[in-house]
């Protein structure tokens, strides 16, 4: 491509995808937080009585699981806001959070599986917590798949919003599954866990670091969705124009009446 053309392209970008000085601050903060979290997870936190170093998976596993819940919470809130306000930006936020939530749920399942293989002795078991979490993953994968198959933007956003609200029902089920039913997975309880202050601090810093990462991911995915929406709007303009041409073109298109 010519230099002139690429200059034109640069000018067209309205919201930079987190570059510039704001991006510099955010990404620096993210890297520093991640580095501190890494140090605390691997060196600062003491070895656990039974699990030794393997318990260090706790910090990342709890953080990504918690952020999956948070992301799906954002999906539900954004879906409600979309149905209320009918502003497509809320829909973009919902789809961005849903995709990030699926990513974090995937990470929860993988890190849990690896940890479980070492401590429990199995990669997977049909325990209530694990099963409901896998169902959660399927619900939001289905949410994303459903969006791809409804071409009319308004219909898609409305159907997705309803799905996004109803799908959230599984989040409290996952959370309380360890208390409602007998399970292998331990209950989540910081108070009963007997964590030392070093362990609690490590968990807090790790959760904060992953939360910043989660928000950066949602924002980037949101900007991508806004750009895609703009493209979809243009596509519809072109389609309508083509349709006009086809209709005014008259007898050359015998199927125009259908």
């Amino acid at each position: 491509m010519s230099l002139a053309k690429s200059v034109v392209r640069r000018q067209a970008v309205k919201q930079p995808p987190l570059f510039g000085w704001r991006g510099f601050i955010v990404y620096t903060a993210l890297l520093v937080l991640m580095a501190v979290a890494l140090y605390m997870i691997f060196i600062y936190a003491p070895a656990e009585r039974v699990q030794g170093d393997a318990h260090r998976l706790l910090y990342g596993h709890v953080a990504v699981a918690w952020l999956a819940f948070l992301a799906f919470g954002v999906v539900a809130v954004a879906s409600v806001m979309y149905l209320w306000r009918r502003n497509p930006r809320w829909d973009s936020l919902a789809v961005a959070s849903a995709e990030v939530g699926v990513l974090f749920t995937t990470l929860t399942l993988i890190s849990g599986s690896i940890w479980g293989r070492h401590v429990w002795g199995v990669w997977w078991t049909w325990d209530p917590r694990l099963t409901t979490t896998l169902v959660l993953w399927f619900i939001y994968v289905a949410y994303l798949a459903l969006r791809m198959y409804i071409d009319n933007a308004d219909t898609r956003r409305r159907v997705a919003a309803i799905f996004g609200i109803v799908g959230f029902v599984d989040v409290p089920i996952v959370w309380y599954s360890v208390e409602w039913w007998r399970s292998l997975h331990p209950v989540q309880s910081v108070t009963r866990a007997g964590l030392t202050s070093e362990m609690v601090l490590t968990l807090v810093v790790t959760v904060v670091a992953f939360t910043v990462f989660c928000f950066v991911l949602i924002r980037q995915r949101y900007l991508l969705e806004r750009a895609s929406d703009e493209g979809e709007g243009l596509r519809d303009i072109v389609r309508n124009r083509l349709e006009e041409l086809r209709l005014t073109g008259g007898e050359s298109t015998p199927e125009a009446g259908k």
Partner: protein, 53 residues
């Protein structure tokens, strides 16, 4: 390296590789989609100008 350390490193490696990979992928896609939208817009403007002349 003991088995528990292997599990520990693989666990965190998977988490960070997928997170950073997704970040790079999405950020790269934003530029691509915006460029494409921009091109279509320019094309449409050019055609509109041509039609009005």
């Amino acid at each position: 390296m003991t088995q528990e350390l292997v599990f520990l490193f693989i666990g965190y490696a998977v988490i960070w590789v997928l997170l950073f990979g997704y970040l790079v992928f999405v950020t790269g896609r934003i530029r691509g989609v915006r460029d494409a939208v921009h091109d279509v817009r320019q094309e449409l403007d050019a055609q509109r100008r041509q039609a009005s002349e």
